[in-house]
């Protein structure tokens, strides 16, 4: 995944030159990985040339990789190479791969049936753990993905307010619901008034009319909310922007959004698909003063199985229910065939119980995250490479090769993305797995300080190489 700027052409400066050099080097790294990983190359060819499979997430990987198995912090590819996993399934696996409690829960569930029509007896216990972790929440409804949960949240907000407008932030990724697929990867216009750009083809005519685009971590967002306040059903924001490059929202930004929402009568939705149970045993709001009206979660709450949930007050969540005997048009439709299925409920419950019962795990995760960020910053300064590392707790982004500290995806436009892609590709050769830019990386409780140090050392080696090849200053 590479992010884009639609307006300006990049100038032919030193950055452009090193980017060109980086692309050349990328080709040779690709060739080397193909040579050393013949089974991976064959699998890739089989997908691409014989029978293409939708690149469900393949865009995230700088070079193809196919997983054979994983355990704890390590992932093994089909050629037998081992990697320290800095991706953890795009975040859900906080306890690492195959934590015993989750494996045990799933092993039991597999034999008792994976899915029923009537509800399973396990849905409730998972719901209780999640609701218990969200300040002020009373109820939730399950979906099958984070994307379905933000869809549900927007519908609840629209039904609650009787308005259609939705405000979201640049760089905010909320899944594949049509109204939220704007300015996810693309930056356009000025920060005072970002220009709407659809980041998905095939959206229906008119969807854009409902959307208000806000700059992230920028006070000018508040006036944009007020300006179209009477049309707005909700403002949806990630308390920690993940896929944009791992940027925590500043508390003043969230407080400003809260105030603007209250003023115009819109709901504030926290999209916590990434941050939920990642930064604290529940919502990120546990560590904040600001309280959202609705929270969406996914990833971690399913313990490694597909999941999503929309969480809020009884009054809001009960909008999903029609009065007995009532028709479909009297409810907000949420859910589907597999919502609340017992595999997800079993795995989610096993994972969340551990986290809720041992909140100290978050201290351990944060300490490791801090060690990682500090280590990477040290490497950058040792080598004299201008660059930054972002993140909080067990999440980090970068290294971003640029001169000024970034606080939003907009800032990352100045970074050297080609070098960033190259770092991820070269790290694979050294046994470290992480996605390309804008990097979003995760640790788990299965990682150790030694793993962290190895990742840092691998970065040092790769960046030195890129320096010597003329791809980095």
């Amino acid at each position: 995944m590479v992010f884009h700027e639609v307006t300006s052409e990049r100038t032919e400066g030193s950055v452009a030159v090193s980017e060109r050099r980086a692309n050349e080097l990328m080709d040779s790294v690709r060739a080397e990985l193909r040579r050393t990983r013949p089974l991976t190359a064959a699998a890739h060819d089989r997908t691409v040339t014989r029978r293409a499979i939708g690149g469900t997430r393949s865009r995230f990987w700088p070079v193809p990789i196919y997983v054979e198995r994983a355990q704890g912090a390590y992932l093994y590819d089909i050629d037998g190479f081992r990697y320290i996993d800095c991706n953890m399934g795009h975040g859900p696996l906080i306890l690492g791969h195959r934590p015993p409690a989750v494996v045990e829960a799933l092993a039991g569930q597999i034999r008792e049936g994976t899915h029923y029509g009537p509800p399973s007896s396990k849905e409730c216990a998972l719901a209780e753990l999640i609701v218990g972790g969200v300040p002020g929440a009373e109820m939730l409804a399950f979906t099958n993905s984070g994307g379905e949960s933000t869809m549900a949240a927007v519908r609840l907000a629209r039904a609650a307010t009787g308005r259609d407008g939705v405000a979201k932030c640049e760089g905010g990724l909320h899944g594949n619901y049509e109204p939220l697929l704007f300015n996810v990867f693309t930056i356009a216009g000025g920060a005072d008034r970002p220009e709407l750009v659809a980041d998905c083809a095939g959206l229906p005519v008119g969807v854009a009319d409902d959307i208000v685009m806000l700059p992230f971590n920028d006070d000018r967002a508040f006036d944009l909310v007020r300006e179209r306040g009477s049309e707005l059903a909700c403002v949806i924001v990630e308390p920690l922007q993940g896929s944009a490059g791992t940027f925590p929202a500043s508390s003043s930004f969230l407080a400003g959004l809260r105030a603007a929402c209250d003023e115009v009568g819109a709901l504030l939705v926290f999209d916590e698909v990434i941050s939920g149970f990642r930064l604290a045993p529940g919502s990120a709001a546990l560590n904040l003063e600001v309280r959202p009206d609705l929270v969406t979660m996914g990833k971690a709450i399913g313990g490694g199985m597909p999941v999503g949930a929309v969480i809020g007050s009884r009054e809001h969540v009960m909008l999903t229910d029609s009065p007995p005997g009532g028709g479909f048009c009297e409810q907000v439709f949420v859910g589907g065939t597999f919502s609340g299925n017992p595999m997800t409920a079993a795995a989610g419950h096993a994972q969340l119980s551990q986290l809720v019962e041992n909140p100290r795990l978050y201290d351990q995760l944060s300490a490791m995250g801090e060690r990682m960020r500090r280590g990477l910053r040290r490497v950058l300064s040792e080598l004299g490479i201008p660059g930054f590392v972002t993140g909080v707790g067990s999440i980090w982004g970068g290294p971003y090769f640029m001169d000024r500290e970034p606080t939003s995806m907009r800032d990352l436009l100045d970074s050297n993305q080609a070098a960033g892609t190259l770092v991820s590709a070269c790290l694979l050769e050294l046994g470290v797995l992480m996605t390309g830019p804008p990097h979003l990386n995760f640790l788990s409780t299965a990682h150790t300080d030694e793993d962290v140090d190895q990742v840092v050392d691998a970065h040092r080696e790769v960046m030195k190489r890129l320096q010597s090849e003329g791809c980095l200053p």
Partner: protein
């Protein structure tokens, strides 16, 4: 009559609660955190049973009661619960891990099985639900045609996708040109402006499509209306849709989320001999784990999902964190492999389905109940309405209270069978006979209670 129905429902609820004390307690507890005790309470009024485990054709609830299951996870489990091949595949995958960022080999395997079996499928994209599959399919069609509107039939169910979530149960307007009525609150009016509702099993749909030729990106249709009441499309209707879509350059999407791998190894498309430009799958394709699939013509999917240009706005995005996850892929490969490579399964399913339809018709006749049996293959519908239904309009006279009471009486008797019943390879002829006998008992009870009209 209405008051009588409500009294009977209340009595049935009490009977459920009294006979299932643990379930009733669980319902109370669950209702504090989940809307009326579960995410999908509306299917299980007045009180759901809570399932503890399942095996083959049977469910066991928290009170330890067994039920012969003719719902099968809303139709997903064509091989029944905990099929040994699926259990083995999932256990093996669990040994390796449940979920990774990068893909696995079994994703390629399931894609190849789908390409091998689904007519017209050259390419495959995985998502997490049928809803996400229809969302993606619509976007592909819009991108490919440069048009925005979607044609869908009255009574068609395509999941929570608001750009088709119209006129499923809320019907109005001229039968030839039905109104587009939203079936959910909280949806922007933009959605409704992009929907054209077509009559089902009615040739007048074709003219309506021709009329909209400049704005219609696609027509999405279930070969057998599932949620809408188990109403098979007439072959001529599907053929007509195929022809008119080709004529005006619109994409035909066959929504086979229910029918795929249920009505045959090649789904309804194989059975009807009609091929969609795109096909959506779900349910059975995931072997009992969350799944959605978009598959179809190579040129169509390549140009829209993976275009040469790198800009995100030029490509249709479909997918997410868990799309193509290895557990779903493992269960899917086990299930689809078993079904595609063993034709005898479908002979068995056909026999069971036919046996159930014949048995239910006889039972209805003997009891003198005003109801009709619909369906095809392993899908069977029972309708309390005035005429043999062939489209959703025929169902407007349905006596929903009688239908709901019937479902609850069957539950009290140890059978899970909603208006739409499914069969699995785990069911036997004996199970079918027992269900027919249970229907007869439940119908007689309804009759005695005066709850069967006419």
């Amino acid at each position: 009559m209405q008051q009588r129905g409500e009294d009977l429902l209340e009595a049935a609820r009490k009977e459920l609660r009294d006979s299932r004390p643990l379930g009733a307690a669980h319902h109370e507890r669950a209702s504090r955190v989940l809307p009326r005790g579960t995410t999908r309470a509306r299917f299980w009024e007045p009180m759901p049973i809570y399932v503890k485990k399942a095996q083959g054709a049977y469910l066991t609830d928290v009170d330890g009661r067994d039920y012969c299951d003719f719902n099968l996870g809303q139709g997903a489990l064509v091989l029944g619960h905990a099929h040994p091949a699926v259990v083995a595949a999932l256990e093996a995958q669990l040994e390796r891990g449940t979920h990774f960022g990068p893909p696995t080999h079994n994703r390629i395997q399931l894609a190849e099985l789908i390409v091998e079996s689904v007519p017209g499928a050259d390419r495959v994209a995985f998502v997490n639900s049928g809803t996400e599959a229809t969302m993606g399919a619509l976007r592909i069609a819009r991108k490919a045609t440069g048009r925005s509107k979607v044609g869908k039939v009255e009574g068609g169910w395509h999941g929570a996708n608001e750009f088709v979530l119209h006129s499923f149960t809320t019907l109005s307007g001229d039968a030839a040109r039905p109104d587009a009525n939203l079936d959910s609150l909280g949806v922007s009016s933009v959605a409704t402006k992009n929907v054209i509702v077509l009559p089902f099993n009615d040739e007048r749909a074709f003219d309506r499509i021709r009329e909209a030729r400049d704005e219609l990106a696609c027509v999405i249709v279930e070969p057998v209306l599932g949620g809408g009441g188990c109403l098979p499309a007439e072959p001529s209707f599907l053929e007509g849709l195929r022809a008119v879509c080709s004529e005006i350059g619109a994409v035909l999407i066959l929504d086979e989320v229910i029918t795929g791998y249920r009505l045959g190894p090649r789904g309804a498309a194989g059975r009807y001999g009609v091929t969609g430009d795109l096909t959506t799958l779900g349910k059975a394709a995931g072997g009992g784990l969350p799944i959605g699939v978009i598959c179809g013509r190579g040129d169509l999917m390549d140009e829209t999902m993976w275009p040469a240009s790198g800009a995100p706005g030029d490509a249709v995005f479909a997918g997410g964190t868990f799309s193509g996850n290895p557990m779903t892929m493992a269960a899917g490969v086990a299930t689809v492999g078993e079904l595609v490579h063993h034709a005898e399964h479908y002979r068995h399913l056909e026999e069971l389905g036919e046996g159930l339809r014949v048995g239910l018709r006889r039972a209805l006749c003997e009891v003198g109940a005003p109801a009709f049996v619909t369906g095809v293959g392993s899908m069977v519908g029972v309708h309390f309405c005035g005429t043999m239904p062939s489209n959703e309009r025929d169902l407007v006279t349905t006596d929903h209270v009688a239908a709901q009471l019937l479902r609850v009486y069957l539950e009290l008797d140890g059978f899970i069978s909603r208006g739409l019943s499914f069969l699995s390879t785990a069911h036997t002829g004996e199970d079918v006979h027992r269900l027919v006998a249970a229907y007869e008992r439940a119908l007689r009870r309804l009759q005695t209670e005066g709850a069967l009209g006419a």
